[in-house]
Symmetry: C2
Subunit: 145 residues, 2 copies
DNA sequence: GATAAAAAGGATCTTGTTTATCCATTTATA
DNA sequence: TATAAATGGATAAACAAGATCCTTTTTATC
């Protein structure tokens, strides 16, 4: 049960953009180099992030990516669910009709609780906070330890 | 981010055994039929559960599976981690040395929190409770709705 | 307009994991 | 000793993840 590479890369990309001044565009190559993301894979990831409004893509020379929302309006949950779909640990917790047994059973209530908790935790973590922390520590940019 | 079939089947298997009187052995076919698990797949699942002591396997005629521990000593976390390995959402949360960037960053503390929460929730859910609930509701055995 | 930088979109490919099945071998009851 | 029942190893099929390549489209600037 783990974060996919696509999810990890997406977080790094949004985090990078969140550390820039408002409205600044960073090119795909710049982001890929800085955050250690395969260039062409980043293309696909950016397309998904763009479809859910988390980033904007600018084409043409001087093009690249920038945030589509202020970083305090973007949370880890947004990015994770964009890249990996809904978080659920058991079909029943989200799609009761797909369970061959009854779905009110005790097991499912545990999954629902787990799902709710993790979504809440990921929702509380905004990229404004994350970027601030990263900037303060000089992390993620080769300056820190 | 979801439970695998193997994880789901393992839970159903242990739940079935937990509803039986202490020490009772159920054959592989009985469990497979009752809980809608592919017979040969259940073999593999049982081997894993047996290696971590959750169930015991009895060979020969009248053989089958039974719990290796009292059901109040088995929790969802045990079964899930046996079948799916450690729960972690990000490499760094568990293996700091594998992260190419610094691992004290703010993102990782969020993953650590999420991981801790879900493990706690799954640890609290024992099969004694789960089986009791299932028996009370006549669920999981075709008698309920 | 023409040029060129930069991203899109589609196709493909590799790799790994999950799920499932088959069969010869081992175990142990009666 | 015969037989019921599970093991263990091998293999296959299905699917998802990760990565890469190439042609087309967009658009800033000369």
């Amino acid at each position: 049960m783990r974060l996919t590479k696509a999810g990890e890369y997406a977080i790094r990309c949004v985090l990078y953009l969140s550390t820039l001044a408002k409205g600044i565009v960073a090119s795909r190559n710049e982001i890929a180099d800085a955050m250690d993301i395969p260039r062409d894979f980043l293309t696909k990831i950016a397309q998904q992030l763009s479809r859910s409004g988390i980033i904007e893509i600018i084409q043409g020379p001087k093009g690249g990516f920038r945030l589509g929302l202020p970083p305090e309006k973007i949370c880890l949950l947004d990015v994770v669910e964009t890249m990996m779909g809904d978080i659920f640990f058991n079909e029943c917790a989200l799609r009761p009709q797909s369970c061959s047994k009854s779905c009110t059973c005790a097991v499912h209530t545990v999954w629902v609780k787990a799902r709710t908790q993790i979504r809440e935790t990921l929702r509380e973590a905004t990229f404004a906070q994350l970027a601030e922390d990263v900037k303060n520590r000089d992390l993620y940019f080769g300056k820190g330890s």
